[in-house]
Amino acid sequence: MQLLKMELRGFKSFADKTTLTFDKGITAIVGPNGSGKSNISDAVRWVMGEQNVRQLRGQKSEDIIFAGTQTRRPQGAAEVSLYFDNSDHALDTEFTEVVVTRRLFRSGDSEYYINRRPCRLKDIHILFADTGIGQDSMAVIGQNRVDRILNSKPEERRVIFEEVAGISRFKGRKADGLRKIAETERNLERIRDLMSVLEERLEP
């Protein structure tokens, strides 16, 4: 799997549609302070489902959308797409190219797409689980992330190791399973309650 390109539109300082293409090897993003370099790393985390706007250096979710300048009007929506080459089928889908998109409107509505078809954020998490670029992965390291890894409690740190060890997918399945068991038990209890009530009525 490889990251082919990234498209930003209306995301933070990227008012116009901007396409970044990535080759194999090292791509360095350079430029003066305040030109919007770090907005690129924010965009990657945002597409992968980052929910905390503060992690993206914003106050409210609207701050993600291009806010306009003295000469430009604000945009109505922010959109970021990541294009992956999946010809080795590292992602569990038949497509050889996978496009993941997130869009946010001023109304606060957030939409996710896989290959242009609407999906839930959970579907994106499932698609990328254990590839090393999931939510708690080390795929995007910012300056604040460095401190978070070192200052975090040992228990918080283990989450990153779980992702790398490839057991977060199991953990998710286990949590789902436990939830189903709990639900079934609740249902059983309700049936038992109903039965005892009915039995009481039958008695006399």
Partner: protein, 162 residues
């Protein structure tokens, strides 16, 4: 399922630990580092402790490290993860800012070594890191508040030059 998870975690943890030690000492040009679980009995809940000793110093608490040492420690950990399980891409945002020249050069060399398995996207101000890159993407703000992009393929430029 718990048993399988514990086994897989323990195996991965051990391997990552070995890579971490190795990469740490190579990035720092010496010193030692190791990872430990806070509770060996309960692998599925235990936390992860990081112990490091930079070259020429005694073992230190993570909070006492200098900015450059902290950054380099995280880079070592990151590369250890990638050595265990290569991620398709990895984006690092100015983690090299706090490093000195020698460390930047060592880091850039390492990224280059690993860039066969993993694509690296580095946001940087450091010359040595830029020199290691295959492609440079320049972000500018000619119009106030609006970012623009310029692409320079270093590899192709070098080819043309020779």
């Amino acid at each position: 399922m718990d048993a399988a998870m514990a086994e897989q975690f323990a195996k991965a943890f051990k391997e990552i630990g070995v890579h971490f030690q190795d990469i740490f000492s190579r990035l720092f040009g010496g010193g030692t580092a190791h990872l430990a679980l806070t509770d060996k009995e309960h692998i599925l809940e235990a936390g992860v402790e990081i112990y490091i000793r930079p070259p020429g110093k005694k073992q230190q608490s993570l909070t006492l490290l200098s900015g450059g040492e902290r950054a380099l420690t995280v880079i070592a950990l990151l590369l250890a993860f990638l050595a265990y399980h290569p991620a398709p891409f990895c984006l690092v945002d100015e983690v090299d800012a706090a490093l000195d020249e020698a460390n930047v050069e060592r880091m850039a060399r390492y990224l280059k070594n690993y860039s066969g398995a993993t694509q690296f996207i580095v946001i940087t101000h450091r010359r040595k890191t830029m020199e290691a890159a295959n492609t440079l993407l320049g972000v500018t703000m000619e119009e106030k508040g609006v970012s623009r992009l310029l692409t320079v393929k270093v590899d192709e430029l070098l080819k043309e030059g020779t």
